[in-house]
Symmetry: C2
Subunit: 100 residues, 2 copies
Amino acid sequence: MYGLIGKMTAAAGRRDELAAILLAGTRAMPGCLSYIIANDPADADALWITEVWDSSESHQASLALPAVRDAIVRGRPLIAGFSNRVETTPLGGVGLPRAG
Amino acid sequence: MYGLIGKMTAAAGRRDELAAILLAGTRAMPGCLSYIIANDPADADALWITEVWDSSESHQASLALPAVRDAIVRGRPLIAGFSNRVETTPLGGVGLPRAG
């Protein structure tokens, strides 16, 4: 499995709008096992996105899906920056199949 | 919903053993919607744990469950430290019910 954890900072005051675009644009992605969008209660403009994919190839391929491309185009003007990006190798847990 | 993201550093060379304890000890937790344990491919002793609960109360209550208490007791000697802890307010996404 392939995982990503990262913080996305919205333009000032635009977090809710950005989150709505992400929530709508990230359904039905082949190979996506988990894709959770969360507010940061300590930072009014920040979202945390945690992802699990069956492979890094599925993640890469998702970027070409029409719904995802559309979300990127609509979301980009609302994004001030990215930080705290970590790639992971998920092992399993609640809500995931068991690895190995 | 209530979320947690954090990095757990194992004692040198003990990551696999610690991950196995966490994977076994974190099943069937009431109110737990997602609990994913991942290796950090860039840090041989590090795990990332991302959690989503229906409420912070469910998370707090889980710490009293026998299986979780047992995992804490067995895992503690294998843990060198915690870092990068973030509390979040999950909004939804793949693998979760939709909030609001």
